[in-house]
Point group: D2
Chain length 325, copies 4
Amino acid sequence: MFAIRSFNLLCRRSTVSTWRNTSQSAAGKRLDISGIYPPIATPFTQSEDVDYQRLEDNLKKYSNLPFRGLVVQGSNGEYPYLSAEERVEVVKSVKQALPEHKLLMAGSGCESTRGTVLMSQRMAEAGADCLLVVTPCFYRGRMDSRALINHYTKVADSSSVPVVLYSVPANTGLDLPVDAIIQLSQHPNIVGLKDSGGDITRIALIVQKTRSQGFQVLAGSAGFLVPAYAVGAVGGVCALANVLGQQVCDLAQLCVSGRWDEARELQYRLIEPNTAVTRQYGVPALKQAMEWFGYHGGACRSPLQPLSEADLARLRLDFSSNGWL
Amino acid sequence: MFAIRSFNLLCRRSTVSTWRNTSQSAAGKRLDISGIYPPIATPFTQSEDVDYQRLEDNLKKYSNLPFRGLVVQGSNGEYPYLSAEERVEVVKSVKQALPEHKLLMAGSGCESTRGTVLMSQRMAEAGADCLLVVTPCFYRGRMDSRALINHYTKVADSSSVPVVLYSVPANTGLDLPVDAIIQLSQHPNIVGLKDSGGDITRIALIVQKTRSQGFQVLAGSAGFLVPAYAVGAVGGVCALANVLGQQVCDLAQLCVSGRWDEARELQYRLIEPNTAVTRQYGVPALKQAMEWFGYHGGACRSPLQPLSEADLARLRLDFSSNGWL
Amino acid sequence: MFAIRSFNLLCRRSTVSTWRNTSQSAAGKRLDISGIYPPIATPFTQSEDVDYQRLEDNLKKYSNLPFRGLVVQGSNGEYPYLSAEERVEVVKSVKQALPEHKLLMAGSGCESTRGTVLMSQRMAEAGADCLLVVTPCFYRGRMDSRALINHYTKVADSSSVPVVLYSVPANTGLDLPVDAIIQLSQHPNIVGLKDSGGDITRIALIVQKTRSQGFQVLAGSAGFLVPAYAVGAVGGVCALANVLGQQVCDLAQLCVSGRWDEARELQYRLIEPNTAVTRQYGVPALKQAMEWFGYHGGACRSPLQPLSEADLARLRLDFSSNGWL
Amino acid sequence: MFAIRSFNLLCRRSTVSTWRNTSQSAAGKRLDISGIYPPIATPFTQSEDVDYQRLEDNLKKYSNLPFRGLVVQGSNGEYPYLSAEERVEVVKSVKQALPEHKLLMAGSGCESTRGTVLMSQRMAEAGADCLLVVTPCFYRGRMDSRALINHYTKVADSSSVPVVLYSVPANTGLDLPVDAIIQLSQHPNIVGLKDSGGDITRIALIVQKTRSQGFQVLAGSAGFLVPAYAVGAVGGVCALANVLGQQVCDLAQLCVSGRWDEARELQYRLIEPNTAVTRQYGVPALKQAMEWFGYHGGACRSPLQPLSEADLARLRLDFSSNGWL
C-alpha cells in the first residue's frame, strides 16, 4: 500500500484544529460565494516583473463595481508563469487593497497534492478568504475520480479556509468528473465549483445533485452566464468582468431578479467579446481589451505572445460590433 | 472551375418554379416550426424488417400529445440503416397516420449533394412538410464552410418544401460552423436549425445572429431545453419525447410562459433519463425505455446491439431515481 | 434477447455451403493479399455521372504496373457518394478491364449489417475477389468490440469471398479495437486488415497477435509504408499509388528485399506528396495530382469542392520539392 | 510591441559568451546524443520525500547497462510534483553517481520562458550535459509555432549546454509543430528532439527535413523503437528501459546493425509491457514493474494513486505473457 505516514499525519493534525471551525460553520451555514468575480489579470513591467503599482490601480477601479469579490490567480492571472513566491506575494498585495466586505478567492492549485496543500496554507495566511483549486492534469490519463477525490479531500482537510473546485478543460484537458464533484460536495470545507467547460447539461446535473448540500456552482465564463443562472448557478467567475465589469454584474442581477428577457438581450451582446478574450485569443486579448477600457493590461509573460495586427482588428470588431467600443 | 452543368441545370430549373413560391412565403412569413418534436424510432420485426403496424400504434399514441409535429428519420430513427426505399416508405406511412395540423419533418440527408437533392424530392412527394438535412460528414476534413454552404444551398434551391439544417457532432464528428449557419439563414427556403451539440454559447450566438431573418433554432435534446429556451431557442427535437412526451411538452410550455423556476425543477428530473437514452446508451436504450412507457420500441438493426443486463439496470435507475418509474 | 430469426437463418444457410470452401482454403492456405493496391478514384463526367470511359483509360495504364490488384471503392473512390447500383456497376466495369492475375478488392461496407451482407453478395457476384469492409460508424458511441465482432462475423459468415477488415479513423472517427481484430482474425473467411490510422505500435501489436493465424496486415497509406513493413505488414493500399504507382511498388520491393537504407530514402520523398493527397487536401487533391501524372482525375461529386488556388499551389509544391514534378 | 528589455538583455548578454563555444562546436560537430536513455523514476520515502539512497541504488544498477546516458526528470520522473529545489537537487545527486562517459540529460522545462531559462541555468550548473525542454502547454490554445519558436530560441540562446526539444502530447495535449521543429533545428544550440507522440510519418518527415543540420531524433518510447530507427531516428528515451534496460539496448543495437528480422521479433515482445508502463497505467505501473526487476520503484507522490489489484494483475500479465516474468 501507498503509505505517506508523516505527511498524512501533518495533514491530519492540522485538520483537527481546522475542522472544528469549518465544521461548525458548515453546520451553521457555508460561506456564501454567490455573485460575480473577475479573475484578475497580472500586469507586468517591461522586464516581465509583476507590476504591483498597476495592479493596485486596477484594484481601485474594481472596488467601485458590485463584485462579490476577486479571483486572484485563476487561469487569466497567468499563475503557471509565476513562481511560488510571486503567487503568494500577489495575494498579499490584493488583500491590502481589497475592501473588507469583498471575498478574496485565491488560486492555490499545484500539480502535486503536497504542493497544493502547502500553497493553500500560504495563501490563507496571506489573506485568502477561500481557495480556488484547479484539477491537477499533467498525468491526465491517471486523474480519475479516485485520484481527484483523494487530492481534493487532502487539500480541503488541511485548509483553514473553504475550497472551491475548479474545472477548466480548455487548459487542463480534463473535466472534473460529476461523480467526484457529487462526493466532494459532501465535504464540509468544499463550498462550490467553478465550471469553465460550459457544458450546460452537466452544470444543471451538478446543481441538481449537490444543492441539498448547500454546494454552490459558479459559471466559469460570461458566455453562458444566463443559461447557467437558468439552471441554478449562483454566480460567475468571468474573464470579461475585467473589462466590462458593470455589464457582467448587471447581467447577473437581471437573472437573479427574474428579468430573463432583458438578460437574454444583454447576454447576446457579451458572447462575442467574451469568446474573443477567452477561448479565441486568450489572455493577451483580455489584457489588450483592458487597456481599451481604462485598465492596465499590458503584455503577458513569454511564451504568451502579443496579438497579431489581424487578430487585434478582429478583437476590436468583436467589441465594437456589439456596441461596446 | 468545378463544372457540373447538366446537374446544375436540373437544380436551377427546378429552382425557378420553386423560388417563386418559397420566396413569396418568405417575404410573407416563414414556416413556423416552433414546438416539440419526437424524432421517432423505427420499430422492426424479428427479422429486422420495418414493422409498420407497430409504427402506426406508436403514432396513434403520439397523436394525443401536444407535439408540434414529428421528425421522421433523425438519428434516432436509424435512418443510416434503412435503404433509400425504406426511408421514403416510412415517411409515407407516417404521413397517412399524422393528424393534419401536425408537421412532418423528414430527414433527407445523404452524403452526396445529388443524393440529398433526390431524397429531398422523394420525401416531399411522400408528404414531408419540411426536411431535416444532416451535415454530410464522411470526408469531414474537407467539409468546411464553403463545402457545406454549397451543399445546403443546392439542396434548398431545389427543394419544394423548407429545409432545416441539422448539426449532430456526436454522430457526425462535425459541427456545422456558425458562419455557415449565418449565411445559410438568409436563404428563403432554409427556416431553421436543429442543434444537437449542446454548446449553449454557440446556440445563443446563432440566435443572436440569425433572428432578424426569422431563422428558428431547435434544441436537439431535452437535456438542455430550458437553457436553450433561455437564450432564444423556439423548440426542441428531443429523443426523450418518444418516452416522456407530455413532460417534454410541459417543460417547453413552462419556458414559453416564463415560469422558469418550475421549468428548472422539471428540467433537473429529465437530465439523467435524457442522457441515458441519447449519449450514454443510445438508440437501444431509447427503444427499451419506450417499451416501459407503453410504446413499441424493440430491437435495433444490427450492428446496434441490445443493452447488457448491467446497462439495462442503470438505464432503469436513471428513470426511477427521478420519479418516472 | 435481440432475435432476428429469419435474417439470421438466411445468413446461416448461406454459411453452410460457404464455410466448407473457405474453411478448406483456410486449412490449406488463405488468399494471399500481400502487395500494393491503389484504391482507385472514380472519374465523373461534367454532370457528375460516373465516367466509365475515363475509368477504363486509367485501368489500362494501371495494368502496366506491378500492383497486386486494385481496391475499388475505398474512401478514395467516393463510395459514400455512389448509389448502391453505381457501386456494383463500377465493380463490374473494373472486373472486365482487370488482368486475370490481379486481385479485385471491393469496398462493400454499409452502415447496417444487412446492407453490408447484401452489398457483399452483389459485389462478389460482380466479380470481386475479396471484400474491404469499413467499420460502420454513425452510432460510433455504440460501436464497441461486441457490436463490431458481431457485424463482421455475420458479414464474413455469409460472404462467398474473403473479407478484409478496414479501419480508417480519419473518416469514421472510430478505430477498430485491437481485441476485436484479434478475435476476428480467427475467422476462416477474414484474411486481413487495412489499417489507415497509422499508429505503428498498434500495427506491430496486431501483427504479433494475429500472424499465427495467417492474418495479413496492409498499411492504409504510403506515408508509413516502410515502418509498416519493418513491423511485419505485407503490403499497402495507398492512395498515392494512383499517382506514383511505380514508386510505391518500388518502395514495397525495397522493403521486401531488405534494402532498408534505400527504402528509407525513397520513403522520405513520398511523405509530403502522400500527406497532401490524403489527410491534408483529400480526394480533390488526389484527383488533381492524377491529372498531372497522366491519369483522369477530374472533379469530385459535391459536396467535395475543388481545391482553392492557394491549396493547389501548395499541393504542386509538395510534389515538386520532392522531385516528382 | 512586446518589450521585455532587461530580461532580454540578461539573456542576450549570457548569449554572447555562450554562443562562441556552442557555435564552434556546431561548426565542428554537435553533441552526439544517439543511443538509449531511461527517463529515470524518482523514488520517494513513505513520507513522500525524495529517497536519495534508493535513487543511488538504482543508478548503480543502471551503470552496468550500455545506456548512452540518463534522462533526469522526464515525465516519468514526476517532475511536475517536485519543487524547483528538488528538481535541481536530484540532478546534482545523479551527476555524482553517473559514470563520466554517460550523458546526463535533465528536464528543465517550465511553463514560462523565464522559469525555463532559470531552471536550465541551474541544471547546467548542477551538472547536466544537455537539457530536455518540454513544450509549455497550459495555454495550449495560444502555443502556436510563433510562441514555441520564440520560447525555445530564448531558452537555447541563454543556455550554456545544448537543448533537446521534447514533444509529449499525451501529457501536454500539444504536438510541437513540424514547421517549428524545422526552424529550431537550425539553432546551433538545439541538437535534437524527443518525440513521444509516436506518429511515425511525422517522425520520418522531421528526420528528412532536419538531418542536413545534424539534428537528431530520439523515439520517446520503446513501443515504436524499431519503426523509428527504420525511418532514421538515432535512439530512444524509453520508460521501459528503467525495467528492461538490457533488452531495450539490444533492440537498438539490432536496428543499428541492420538485423531487422531479429529486431522485429524482439520489438513485438516489448510492445505490451511498454504500453502498460506508459499510456495504459502510467508511472505507478512503471514503478511497480521496477520492483519486480530488482529496482526501487515504490509509490508515487499524490495525486498519482497506486494501481488497483485488477490493474496490477493485468500489468503482470503483460510482462509474463511476453516471457519477461
